[in-house]
Symmetry: C2
Subunit: 255 residues, 2 copies
């Protein structure tokens, strides 16, 4: 069982560029993944280039483990997934990244240790590599241009993981000055507006008036006005009304 079995392990198989190891670490940090394993990287590692590209994910790089061969890198893991853009003839089980996120969450929740293989930048995973994997993960993308950069492939899978771990948390509700207006405040606003619209002649057609008022109210309701916005709107109506020729007194009750 892996030490950090609370999240999937990211395994880069023969990555070519140190920079991509760094951007992978950044994507992992964004998504709450922490355990990185490298199988026979081409550029030397540890690497300053990787650290520079990691935008602060140094700890993930410092804790990354190096392996000469893939079988050693997965030896302690129970479930291995492999990201691949290509459709292959091999009879592997294939799921998409979203299904993979849910399955990883489920299996890791049951205490299983899971890893995801990502192949070299140019060539991808070999069929030999894939014999280590239980399941292949594809990403539904533009079929004519489905090849993702290494860190972006990690990000897509990590995003699906993060969506389950960090998503669905309560959205901070706007508070204080920006709380949604109550219906009473809205009705006051509507009536203020309608009084002024009647007075200025906009609603002079009495037969059409109820329909026009309904349409205006519907339009204003749709925006979910805040208390502050309602106050501002009152001010606008008063301001416009008072600017008309022959008016000079402020409208009562609207500052």
């Amino acid at each position: 069982m892996s030490e950090n079995s609370a999240a999937p392990v990211v395994i880069l198989v023969r990555p070519q560029l140190a920079e991509n190891i760094g951007t992978t670490a950044r994507a992992m940090m964004n998504c709450g993944l922490s355990e990185l394993r490298l199988v026979a990287p081409r550029d030397k590692f540890p690497s300053e280039k990787a650290v520079a590209a990691s935008a602060g994910a140094d700890e993930i790089l410092a804790n990354a483990k190096l392996y000469p061969y893939l079988p050693l890198a997965v030896a302690d893991l129970q479930r291995i997934y492999a990201m691949t853009a290509r459709n292959r003839d091999m009879p592997h089980r294939v799921i998409d990244a979203r299904q993979a996120g849910a399955e990883l969450r489920n299996r890791i929740g049951q205490g299983q240790s899971c890893g995801i293989l990502f192949g070299p930048e140019r060539s991808g995973l070999t069929n030999d590599d894939l014999t280590m994997a239980d399941t292949m993960i594809t990403v539904p993308l533009n079929p004519e241009h489905s090849s993702l950069n290494l860190a972006q492939a990690v990000l897509v899978l990590g995003y699906e993981w993060a969506h389950l771990v960090f998503g669905n948390q309560p959205q901070p509700v706007p508070e204080g000055e920006t709380a949604p207006a109550s219906k009473e405040e809205l009705v006051n606003l509507f009536e203020h507006l309608e009084r002024e619209l009647i007075e200025c002649g906009f609603l002079r057609n009495e037969a059409m008036r109820p329909t026009m008022i309904r349409n205006i109210r519907t339009m204003l309701q749709r925006g979910t006005l805040t208390e502050q916005e309602v106050r501002t709107f009152h001010g606008i109506i008063s301001g416009l009304a008072q600017g008309r020729p022959g008016r000079s007194k402020p409208e009562p009750g609207t500052e």
Copy 2:
């Protein structure tokens, strides 16, 4: 109405690095997005650096439009979304990237033209920029490290779009030699294995035999063996059995 209204328009607001414009174009191409607008980019544009970083998405860069101010860049669009990592006090409607994908698909399906704003690398969108947006989009990520690289923010949104456009397409079913084995083929395999296991003594405990057979069958069923794999398995069983001392004839019917 925008020309390419069949997909959302990507609008980079005051992007700093030409390289990030290039990687954005690549992510757009991966996700089936084609229309890119740039508001006052800091590095000069068009740019060779952008082309080099775009990994073949030159056409998106060649067709990108430049605008001096954000209002000009969104003038012809009907719905504007803004990607932001930060929670702000402004009373905008906030949805997550997944909801945004579904909403964009829906609105674009109804013929509405939609754009998504992405802010400058360091500072993000200003509150003034956000007055142009109907809806803010957040991405559920590690709350301590939620800042995505520009192209990766575009990728997450684009991925949600692509999932709806390119996802749910029928998975190519393994064919011919690799078709899933029929149940009859499986039962033949089980019986072959069990005959040999009885003969070799592995199933000699007759009281335990039914349970052991059930466990073995369950284990082998779970892997969804293909026809080819069943044939291979027969060969393995026969091969092992024939190698035992005192055996030399091939098992009938298993090559």
